[in-house]
């Protein structure tokens, strides 16, 4: 772990928290409780390519490397009325000039929530600046098909990381190796607490640069540790599959501070990831 950067994380956290607080306070100042438009941070706003829809793109936080909940709000451009039924397919792209790649996503269900948000997720795999990451989406609603393109100003790295890649190297028996990469992202709760915490991660497999199918047959063991104190905690529950690509368990923290949750991955009876961990500070 890179200690000198520790300080930076904390200041990031402070920025996140203060951003969140200002959003919340703005929200509480709102006279109309039904109008929860400012519940999330507005990342971008644009009209779709064929000018059928206006799309507002929200996130909980600044976009970061890892599991980001993202929210679309759709309006019919001609009438200005809000769309609550739509099929949205995300297409994130990282343009690295010489080549392009995508990252795992979770597309929203066809129905917006009570506040009009279509909720999905994007698991950015690396940081990006000045539009190197973009999020496009195909939108089908009210019998119309259109697409939208959002260049992203910033996808920031976090420290500690909230996304890891578990690499499985399997000998092919003739001197070569079969390499499988599994991006694993931490689905952070709003707040970590002393006591029981839901510990949720997503697991995908990098089938190609553009394809990341979910993996639902991984066996995962977690072991929390407080590295500086040399102790762990009792009664943790290993994550098990709860929904497509999602695994959920319980991690117990006996105090605040810098924790490390070690992860062991087993698939097809083979241990494939060792020494993987997420650091969690609160």
């Amino acid at each position: 772990m890179n200690h000198p950067t520790m300080k930076r994380i904390t200041s990031y956290h402070i920025i996140y928290i203060s951003a969140l607080l200002s959003i919340l306070s703005a929200c509480s100042k709102d006279d109309n409780p039904g109008n929860n438009q400012s519940q999330y941070m507005l990342v971008a706003e644009s009209a779709s390519s064929n000018s059928m829809f206006n799309v507002k793109f929200y996130a909980k936080d600044s976009l970061f490397v890892g599991y980001n909940k993202v929210f679309f709000m759709l309006y019919e451009k001609s009438s200005g009325s809000q769309v609550t039924q739509a099929e949205i397919n995300f297409r994130p792209i990282m343009d690295m000039v010489t080549f392009k790649h995508a990252c795992p996503v979770e597309n929203p269900s066809g129905t917006a929530d009570a506040n009009g948000y279509f909720e999905g997720a994007v698991m950015f795999s690396m940081p990006g600046y000045d539009g190197s990451w973009s999020l496009s989406a195909d939108v089908v609603a009210n019998g119309k098909t259109d697409s939208i393109y959002f260049p992203l100003a910033r996808v920031i790295p976090t420290n500690p990381v909230k996304k890891i890649v578990v690499i499985d190297s399997l000998s092919n028996g003739s001197g070569g190796w079969i390499i499988s990469k599994y991006p694993v992202s931490l689905v952070e709760p709003d707040k970590w607490n002393v006591g029981n915490n839901n510990f949720e991660i997503t697991v995908n497999k990098m089938a190609s640069m553009m394809s990341f199918p979910t993996i639902n047959d991984m066996t995962i063991a977690i072991t929390p540790e407080m590295p500086s104190m040399g102790h762990g905690s009792p009664n943790n529950v290993n994550p098990i599959p709860v929904s497509d690509g999602h695994y959920s368990g319980t991690v117990n923290f006996t105090m605040t501070g810098a924790w490390r949750v070690h992860l062991d991955f087993t698939r097809d009876g083979r241990a494939i990831g060792k020494n993987a961990y997420f650091d969690i500070s609160f």
Partner: protein, 689 residues
């Protein structure tokens, strides 16, 4: 001193003639030790004058020296300061420790601040002990009670304004003491103030070693204002403030930077012929700041970088707060000549919160985020109780006291922290915890022969687990090196106890032999849980407070006082305690057989005193509890004092040597086997006007 001794003797022999008419034959309190002004009581115990003298001639006796000389009392020592009293093998939550009925609880999760540490002998008038289950006056409990009554306004009758000033020096710790007391009485008003300042450095043990972190400095003030409205009723207010800082605990990895307590109480009393009434309300607050800022906080870690030893700095802060608000009504009603009924209704509310924050730092890196938890989650305990006691006097030889008590206690949480923290152990905490406890006791006093008195008492009682035992979260115990975790599912600890005491008195001789037996069910103690990993790199593991099915305890003490007419007196106190878990395992932390002998001689204005304290080795130990054997020891002390009475004032000068032969020793209950102080020369000067 002469005059004083005379009164004491009077008091001693007043015993057999007390108990006529409306005066109850024998007071409920079994053993009252008078410390300050002499009041004639029908039950002056055998050792009170000794205690009094010990205190008078040695201002260095903190309250610990005093309590150590009470029958059945031993002290658990963690440093030079604030020892925890143990009565017949019972300690902490198994004892009611009260200040004239005032409930007060220490704020340290490591029991470094028993309530007695916030008092000074100079604050006290009497210490009253009750043994075993017969302690219902102050709450249902299993081990007994120690009630410390605060001093009345000083009035030596010489002047309207009177007082004394005392200063002393102790060589072994370069200790300096300053004590003063003042009293002023006018018409119906009387006011008293006393103060103590103590500063002790690190003491030197018998082997010449300087015991680091054994220093302390403390201030204590007590003010009492008494208004006597008429010959029946009075109103009294007490304010006590105690502040200690820089208190070292050599047996612990931490010290106390500040320990502060204050107490305020108001009391109304009415004593009129057939009834005595007392109403009291009180509030007290304790703040205890434990930290390791005075220690070398460098630790070595092995596996940070695999295969490499790494050094790390860790600082720990552990502040604790305890606040208690309460009151009681107590009435004594004399019904006919044969019965006297005591009724007490009381209630108190205690709030406790203790936190721990660890700050970790690797050399060359910024500090890690603080590690925070609450060792006592914000919890409020409210207890209401009713106590009834009837003393029936059959004749001037036999009297029987029957008493009973019901307590209703409820614990509530001030935040969700307790719930969150205990979720780690898969506990689902309730929003509140309630208990009803019951106690019932009977005691018979029988003057078999004119010089022989037998007192037999027996009863049942139970106690609610303490905040630590129920909700404690990673409480480090430096004795066994384990972290303790509370158990909200604990049942009450129940006891059936019996005590017999024989007292023989004739002329200058008084012999008292007592034996107590307690059979405990659901005894509360920590049991190792290997499924929970240890919390930090210096703990051995984790223990969870649990109910042990049965524990037996037995303790006996013998006291002999022999006072010859030529000024020579002899005093012996022997105590022995035995404890057993189930059928064979010894109960840990039981003191060995101990014996204390004092010989004193009064000649004109001089008093000379020599005493010896001897403890046997303790072989009955519980290895599973990490207890180790302790060798025996024998220590001698000498004292001489001179009492002068120039015009309308008194001067007392005394000098003494403690641990005369500079023995290197420790007691079995001392944590960390830290040696006790070596030879020390004390001098003391007191001026009374």
């Amino acid at each position: 001193m002469k005059k004083y001794s005379f009164v004491m003797l009077m008091a001693l022999f007043a015993h057999p003639v007390a108990g006529q008419g409306h005066t109850p034959a024998y007071k409920l309190t079994a053993d009252t030790i008078l410390l300050g002004d002499v009041t004639i009581s029908s039950s002056i115990p055998v050792n009170n004058s000794q205690i009094e003298k010990f205190y008078r001639t040695n201002s260095f006796s903190t309250i610990d020296n005093l309590t150590a000389h009470l029958e059945g009392v031993s002290l658990i020592k963690r440093g030079a300061y604030a020892m925890e009293p143990q009565l017949n093998g019972f300690s902490a939550g198994e004892l009611n420790i009260t200040i004239d009925g005032i409930k007060m609880f220490g704020a340290c999760t490591d029991k470094m601040d028993p309530v007695t540490s916030y008092l000074e002998p100079a604050n006290l008038k009497t210490v009253t002990l009750e043994h075993g289950t017969n302690c219902g006056l102050h709450g249902n409990n299993v081990g007994g009670s120690i009630d410390l009554a605060l001093k009345d306004p000083e009035n030596n009758g010489l002047h309207a304004f009177s007082g004394s000033i005392m200063t002393g020096y102790e060589s072994v710790s370069n200790g300096r003491n300053l004590l003063f007391s003042a009293g002023h009485s006018k018409n119906k008003w009387a006011w008293g103030l006393n103060g103590v300042y103590r500063k002790n450095g690190n003491y030197r043990a018998g082997n010449g070693e300087r015991i680091n972190h054994s220093q302390f400095e403390k201030y204590n003030f007590h003010s009492v204002l008494l208004y006597t409205a008429d010959s029946f009723s009075s109103v009294r207010t007490d304010i006590l403030w105690d502040f200690a800082h820089d208190v070292g605990y050599p047996a612990l990895p931490m010290d106390v930077s500040r320990a502060r307590a204050y107490l305020a109480a108001a009391e109304y009393k009415r004593e009129k012929g057939w009834y005595d009434l007392k109403v009291k309300i009180y509030y007290n607050s304790v703040f205890h700041q434990m930290d390791d800022s005075g220690r070398d906080s460098l630790f070595f870690l092995n596996d940070r970088v695999p295969g490499k030893r790494d050094s790390v700095y860790m600082r720990m802060d552990m502040p604790g707060r305890s606040r208690t608000f309460g009151g009681y009504f107590q009435g004594l009603f004399r019904i006919g000549v044969k019965n006297s009924l005591t009724v007490k209704i009381d209630n108190y509310t205690n709030s406790s919160l203790a936190e721990m924050t660890m700050h970790m730092r690797y050399p060359g890196y910024p500090a890690e985020p603080p590690m925070y938890l609450q060792t006592w989650p914000d919890v409020t305990r409210n207890v209401s109780g009713i106590f009834l006691s009837d003393l029936h006097t059959f004749n001037n030889k036999v009297s029987l006291t029957v008493n009973g008590r019901i307590d209703l206690g409820t614990d509530r949480f001030g935040s969700s922290v307790a719930r969150d923290q205990f979720s780690v152990f898969n506990y689902e905490l309730s929003r509140r915890y309630s208990n009803i406890t019951k106690g019932f006791n009977a005691s018979l006093r029988y003057h078999i022969l004119k010089p022989l008195l037998v007192e037999i008492q027996s009863g049942v009682s139970e106690r609610v687990p303490t905040i630590s035992e129920r909700y404690g979260f990673y409480l480090y115990n430096a004795y066994d090196g384990y972290d303790y975790v509370g158990n909200p599912g604990l049942r009450t600890e129940k006891s059936v106890s019996g005590r017999t005491e024989f007292t023989y008195f004739r002329k200058g001789l008084k012999i008292s032999l007592a034996g107590s037996v307690s059979l405990l069910r659901d005894y509360i103690m920590g049991v190792t849980d290997t499924t929970i990993p240890p919390m930090n790199f210096y703990t051995n593991g984790l223990r969870v407070y649990s109910n042990i099915r049965n524990v037996k305890m037995f303790s006996t003490d013998l006291q002999v006082l022999y006072r010859l007419s030529n000024g020579l007196s002899f005093y012996l106190l022997s105590k022995y305690t035995f404890g057993q878990i189930g059928t064979s395992a010894p109960l840990p932390l039981i003191p060995p057989f101990m014996n204390s002998v004092t010989v004193s001689y009064e000649w004109k204005q001089w008093t000379f005193q020599a005493d010896n304290e001897t403890a046997f080795r303790q072989d009955r130990i519980n290895r599973a509890y990490s207890e180790t054997r302790s060798p025996g020891y024998s220590v001698f002390n000498l004292k001489a004092s001179l009492h002068l009475m120039p015009k309308r004032s008194m001067i007392d000068v005394s000098a003494g040597v403690t641990n005369l032969f500079n023995r290197d020793y420790y007691e079995h209950l001392d944590w960390g086997r830290i040696p006790r102080p070596g030879r020390s020369v004390n001098i003391l000067l007191k001026y009374t006007f």
